[in-house]
Symmetry: C2
Subunit: 193 residues, 2 copies
């Protein structure tokens, strides 16, 4: 399938429009017709650019959103080399999810995609990269003597990931960022002492 410049623009418009819709509304049932209406396209176009239909489109949107998750944490996430840097990262995460509110684009996409091959792969890749950054940060802090040497970078970064995920989930159901903050603060405090 050869795409002209116009074609690429339309394809992007569909993906970004769908992503924006998910972010704003966060409603459960997202239909192709919703996306069609919002992006000002037609069924024909959607299936022209995503021949495998809904799954293929949603997977593309999921990849797009997954990228955003990490880039929204930069540059902090990539340079966790001092306590102030950790604090800035913590604040960036809290701010990002507070702004996102109850809606969770990736969550909606994952449950829409269900068992589709490739769906879990996207989230796995995201989590792996995320955790790797944290692990690197902890390792650097330890080498610099800022974190005591008994700390297991692997397990602690895994705990942080779990805490964040759970905190976000609590945000989805309660609307508050309290759990997210508690998890981040407690775990960073654990690193610190």
């Amino acid at each position: 399938m050869a795409l002209t410049a116009k074609g690429q623009a339309t394809r992007r418009r569909i993906i970004e429009g769908a992503a924006a819709y998910l972010r704003s509304d966060g409603a459960g049932g997202v239909t192709l017709d919703d996306i069609r209406a919002i992006t000002g396209t037609s069924k024909g176009q959607i299936f022209h650019y995503f021949p495998d239909g809904k799954d293929e489109l949603f997977l593309a949107v999921a990849r797009f959103e997954a990228d955003r998750v990490l880039s929204d944490q930069q540059p902090h996430l990539g340079a966790l080399t001092s306590w102030p840097a950790w604090e800035r990262w913590r604040d960036a995460v809290v701010a990002r999810y507070r702004a996102q509110g109850r809606s969770c684009p990736l969550g909606v996409l994952m449950n829409e995609l269900g068992g589709t091959p490739g769906a879990q792969e996207v989230v796995s890749a995201l989590v792996d990269q995320w955790q790797a950054h944290l692990r690197d940060g902890i390792a650097e802090m330890r080498q610099a003597g800022l974190v005591r040497s008994e700390v297991d970078a692997d397990r602690t970064s895994a705990a942080l990931i779990a805490g964040i995920q759970g905190g976000v989930q609590m945000l989805r159901s309660t609307g508050g960022v309290g759990h997210l903050e508690a998890a981040l603060d407690t775990l960073i405090d654990h690193l610190r002492r």
Copy 2:
């Protein structure tokens, strides 16, 4: 709606059958027809016992499953008065979710119910009770001098809840209990030192 003994039995059969189906399969799209087939009932019966249809039935199932979550952690969760007790509770949680595997009945129900009033209330009530048990446990440990007094029982219990939720979510997407264990162990270790 007056229910005879037979009627109550059928009603329960529907709820428990649906719950068992969710637990075993964990598939995304659960339909009334699935439940009808599995519980050996008919559409007429489902709407007889749950006049508001799918939402009412699923809400009942959600309540049933939410009860299980806490009772599966007993008696450990109710008596977190020593470090061995905390360890037993930790093991019970890990075992419970390892057994549950990737399927997550409550998760499926919540996303099926979406924004239905009462749905988030069920999960909120569950989380509140859960966290209250942990908070009480931490408070008792502190009174007994087993936990240092600077520990904030509220925040630490919130962090534990977040860690567990996130760990379970990781279990759903990766199939492993590593994140759950890391979160529990790291946070309990934080209490301990």
